[in-house]
Amino acid sequence: MSDYLLILVSTVLVNNFVLVKFLGLCPFMGVSRKVETATGMGLATTFVLTLSAVCSYLVSTYVLEPLGLEYLRTIAFILVIAVVVQLTEMVVHKTSPLLYNVLGIFLPLITTNCAVLGVALLNAQTEHGLLESALYGFGAAVGFSLVLALFAAVRERLAAADVPQPFQGAAIALVTAGLMSLAFMGFAGMVHE
């Protein structure tokens, strides 16, 4: 039990995918202008990441490993992730139009989120079991959402701040991201992966 808790804490805070592992930076910079869109993206990513972590685990364990084709992981996972994203979009569109309106435009963007592929590959590398894989994916997604929402909140405040001209726009956003990353590095060493 404590192992699973450790995986969660480790992925959410200590080895945060965005600020410590530097994965998934494009949505981190791209959709963090407003808190609402950031939460939408976070929700969609959480859903897809957990699902794709499980699916890639299944493909890796029951298809690739028995055949000795571990070297095909990257391309097979890309395929799996694309399918999961597409399938999620269809199912959400059918079952919950409200959720679809909230997540709609973000769902296809997740295909290109490198954190999703990163989770799948790291799961295979560290030889996680099914539940561990799912938790690892879920934790990574929660960490991603948390950081995205925090960063969006900071950026909303920055919009009103009196930033010196050379630092305005992307420059101050990157500086902020760096400072947040420093703060998260403070967790380093609390949990070994």
Binding site: V59, V63, L64, L67, L69, Y71, L72, I75, A76, L79, V80, V83, Q86, L87, M90, V91, H93, K94, T95
Partner: protein
């Protein structure tokens, strides 16, 4: 090598089948009126109505944002069909989008054609055949007369020729709009 290709192909086939099934199983019923309107439009995707294609124009009509008289290639015939479907009065083509011309087809002056393929890319209905540095020509049966190929030709070798009215193509003008044709 062979097993790798086979496995990837198998995964892709399973994924494709899954998505295909899901597309049918989780199909979202759109507004049926939109589909009906779209089926009446000429599908030239020419954009002369001010919308990026026939589907967006059909959606705009269904939402009540666009009038039914903005389709230039469809002309009077399409307007009448739309008016029938939606229970509205037919009206002449909106002068804002252009005036209705007699049906025409594009003709490429093959002496002048330099084979740049620009008109092939512009054609929404793939009615122009040809390859790079080869002479192009227009498949007259496919051409809808949308004129999108005319401005892109760098040597101005495309002209619009009206389709001559013969026993096959002549029809009675609709009552009420007859004077527009007279």
């Amino acid at each position: 090598m062979i097993p790798a290709v086979a496995v990837l192909a198998a995964i892709a086939a399973v994924a494709g089948a899954l998505l295909g099934y899901a597309a049918v199983r989780f199909r979202v019923e759109g507004d049926p009126v939109v589909d009906q309107i779209e089926s009446l439009l000429p599908q030239t995707q020419c954009g002369q109505c001010g919308y990026p294609g026939c589907r967006p124009y059909a959606e705009a009509i269904a939402r009540g944002e666009a009038d039914i008289n903005r389709c230039v290639p469809g002309g009077e015939h399409t307007i009448r069909a739309l008016a029938d479907l939606l229970g509205r009065e037919p009206k002449p083509l909106d002068p804002e989008v252009g005036e209705e011309k007699p049906p025409a087809v594009a003709v490429i002056d093959e002496e002048l054609c330099i084979g740049c393929t620009k008109c092939i890319q512009a054609c929404p209905v793939d009615a122009i055949v040809g390859a790079a540095k080869q002479m192009h020509t227009v498949v007259a049966e496919e051409c809808t007369g949308c004129e999108l190929c005319v401005p892109v030709c760098p040597v101005d070798c495309i002209r619009m020729e009206p389709v001559p009215v013969d026993l096959e193509t002549w029809r009675w003008p609709y009552p009420g709009t007859a004077e527009a044709h007279a």
